[in-house]
């Protein structure tokens, strides 16, 4: 397998325009979408209520809408899970921000109309929580970057640290882009997924940088810096490929079989990991070269 990978060998540094181009194009589309369409923010961010109730008899959307309207909540989002096309006992209702007392009133009204129910899931979040969550997420990510810059500067050098963080910024942006483009709902677990992506991507980047650090010492005068970087990336390519595969096995398993509840969470990991593989092997090292003030081929 590793022989096969080595046969693919091409200069990553000299073809940097292609890889940077792909990333920049994608990010432009992504940022465009973030500005134009924004995000599909879940109730963790906006505040509001989600009720997933399982009634003893199948219920129709029209009937549900009636009850919600009578409660003054006609604009609620109503979905049926496992619907036979018309009705289902499993009902998902999302409302705007309402008080707990109001929610109980709604539930009582539903009970009066459709009979007993079993709670699958209720999530009620106050509006103020969302702002705190965003603040917390941004602080967490920025703080982790500061720590990483410090460590990498200590063990490697400052420019490695900056190149690594730039790669991470790309990963985070790519993940956010997907969520905006596909309008997938963002919830609080997204923050955890994003930080895992950061942790994974930095790990891969460091493996490449470690090789560069080692090869720097062994470098002959005849070898250009660009060639040395290419060598380093390709020497670690089998490892990158294998580890990416095993990590993706895990993520895909969670995505496909882990259930609906953590699907968005695992999707964030899926796109983030993929981006991490891309940035750590194709973008990070050339960026370091450019940060040293060198051009491809030097």
């Amino acid at each position: 397998m590793s022989d096969l990978i080595q046969k693919l060998r091409f200069s990553i540094v000299r073809n940097y325009k292609i890889f940077f181009g792909i990333t920049i194009t994608f990010l432009c589309i992504g940022f465009g979408s973030m500005i134009m369409r924004g995000f599909n923010l879940g109730i963790d961010f906006t505040g509001g209520t989600i009720m997933d109730l399982y009634f003893q008899r199948p219920v129709k959307v029209v009937e549900l809408r009636e009850v919600m309207s009578s409660q003054g909540l006609g604009n609620s989002i109503i979905q049926l899970a496992n619907s036979d096309g018309e009705s289902s006992p499993d009902v998902l209702i999302r409302t705007g921000i309402i008080t707990e007392a109001k929610r109980r009133e709604v539930v009582e009204a539903l009970k009066a109309k459709f009979g007993e129910y079993e709670i699958q899931r209720i999530e009620q979040v106050d509006a103020t929580v969302g702002g705190e969550l965003i603040e917390q997420a941004v602080t967490a990510i920025v703080l982790s970057w500061v720590l990483m810059i410090a460590y990498i500067s200590l063990r490697f050098e400052f420019r490695f640290a900056i190149a690594a963080i730039l790669a991470l910024i790309v990963d985070v942006s790519v993940t956010l882009s997907y969520f905006s483009l596909l309008q997938i709902e963002l919830d609080s677990s997204f923050v955890a997924a994003l930080l895992t992506v950061v942790g994974y991507s930095i790990n891969s980047t460091i493996v490449v940088f470690d090789r560069i650090r080692e090869n720097m010492k062994l470098r002959r005068r005849t070898e250009t810096l660009s060639d040395m970087i290419d060598n380093s990336i390709w020497q670690t390519m089998t490892r990158t490929f294998y580890t990416s595969l095993t990590s993706l096995f895990s993520v895909v398993a969670i995505f496909l079989w882990g259930g609906e509840t953590i699907r968005n969470f695992s999707f964030a990991m899926l796109v983030g990991f993929s981006s991490g593989i891309y940035t750590s092997s194709l973008l990070a090292a050339p960026m370091w070269l450019f940060l040293r003030g060198k051009k491809a081929g030097d």
Partner: protein, 412 residues
């Protein structure tokens, strides 16, 4: 062939595989499960100022102890009441049967008032000694009240001057009942009757005897997972776990052969260690946490891959298996340390800043990084060492670190 070394290898293998088969199940079950897996309610209460009272430290403290009393009366195993920050209280009710009623009860101020015919408040909840849900007259549920000494005195006095007139009993400003007084009541007891079920009467009694909240508590966040969904999540995450792990195991076997076997054994030990440490840290297993474990298994092999790839490079340079392995380990160790320490930083920050399930996830992530390093660096190293020093083969192909030897190719 040195049987001694091979024997050590087999012994360690047997111990780890055997231990895994026997302990993995009880170990997994002994870890506390989060509300998203076992079902339950997570509520965040926020104390808010009212016209009468501003929220201060003392008021929140008293509220916490009143909430504690209320929750303890529900008879749940391991409920959690925790103050968060200045003015918030987190309440977790695992395995609660009727979350709606419980939540309604938590935030209730439960200010009891007795109001005479002049509209004057004559007694309050502070005059109570006890209250119980009971079956009263006509087999109907009611709440019995017992006053303390001072309360009993006051009650006797009030009833004496109210004969023939009603006294209203109100909770949080809402009149529950307003019976006519027939005679002076001197025994220090009263009853609230109404159209209650036994359960409702008991809940009301709990509220009254736990006392009224000094400040208004608003429900800021409510996350409830029903037992069915919890069970469903649990089953699905087990499926994902088995499939994800199986794929990683098979991959390592196919690509690294005997070294892959060693890596897989190290993974088994890693999984056990992870669960064991989680148990002793009293960590809670949540759905994102399980996802984190599955993920960490995919990432834990990374250390092995790094070692084996170095091993392979050293073999290619023409070294013997023995010296290639030692050199491979030494060099890979630096890479593993540097890359994992940077990853650990993300986990640490997540741990310090995260709350609830996110925090649990961070613990899994951090433990995963540390333990996978230990299992790869120590376990893989010694097991490979035993195998290679047993001299049972000198063929690098068997270890997945070199091309098949020329004579074997010729045979085929």
């Amino acid at each position: 062939m040195r049987w001694n070394e091979l024997g050590k290898f087999l012994l360690v293998t047997l111990a780890i595989v055997g231990g895994f088969c026997v302990y993995i199940r009880p170990l997994t079950h002994s870890i506390k499960q989060g509300l998203d897996l076992q079902g339950g309610t997570h509520v965040v209460l926020q104390a808010v100022d009212t016209a009468e009272l501003k929220v201060d430290d003392d008021a929140v403290k008293r509220s916490v102890s009143i909430i504690e009393r209320r929750v303890n009366e529900l008879g749940l195993t391991e409920p959690l009441i925790q103050r968060q920050g200045k003015d918030r209280i987190i309440v977790e009710l695992p395995g609660i049967k009727d979350p709606e009623k419980a939540i309604a009860m938590l935030g209730k101020t439960a200010m009891l008032q007795f109001i005479d015919y002049d509209g004057k408040v004559v007694l309050t909840g502070n005059d109570l000694k006890d209250s119980r849900g009971q079956i009263g007259q006509n087999n109907r549920a009611c709440v019995s009240l017992e006053f303390n000494d001072e309360g009993a005195k006051k009650f006797a006095e009030v009833t004496a001057r109210s004969i023939g007139r009603p006294i209203a009993i109100a909770l949080d400003g809402k009149v529950l009942t307003a019976p006519n007084v027939n005679e002076a009541i001197t025994g220090g007891r009263a009853q609230i009757t109404g159209n209650y079920t036994m359960e409702e009467a008991e809940h009301l009694a709990i509220l009254l005897r736990s006392g009224s909240l000094p400040v208004k508590l608003e429900i800021m966040e409510n996350r409830t997972v029903g037992p069915t969904l919890g069970q469903d999540s649990k089953e699905k995450s087990i499926t994902a776990f088995i499939i994800g792990c199986a794929a990683v195991f098979v991959f390592m076997l196919v690509f690294y052969r005997l070294s892959g076997v060693v890596a897989d054994i190290a993974l088994l030990l890693y999984t056990m260690m992870l669960l064991l440490v989680m148990r002793y840290l009293n960590a809670t297993l949540t759905l994102p946490g399980i996802a984190g474990i599955i993920l960490s298994i995919g990432m834990a092999v990374d250390a092995n891959v790094l070692i084996f790839e170095r091993f392979k490079e050293e073999v290619k340079k023409g070294r013997t298996l023995r010296s290639a392995m030692d050199a491979g380990f030494d060099r890979a160790l630096i890479t593993i340390m540097d890359s994992n320490i940077t990853t650990l930083m993300a986990a640490l920050i997540l741990f310090y800043l995260g709350t609830g399930p996110v925090k649990g996830f961070a613990v899994t992530l951090a433990l995963g990084v540390i333990l996978s390093m230990i299992s790869a660096v120590i376990v893989t190293k010694y097991m490979l060492h035993f195998l290679i020093y047993s001299n049972f083969t000198k063929n690098p192909w068997i270890f997945g670190v070199g091309a098949p030897k020329a004579e074997e190719v010729a045979e085929k």
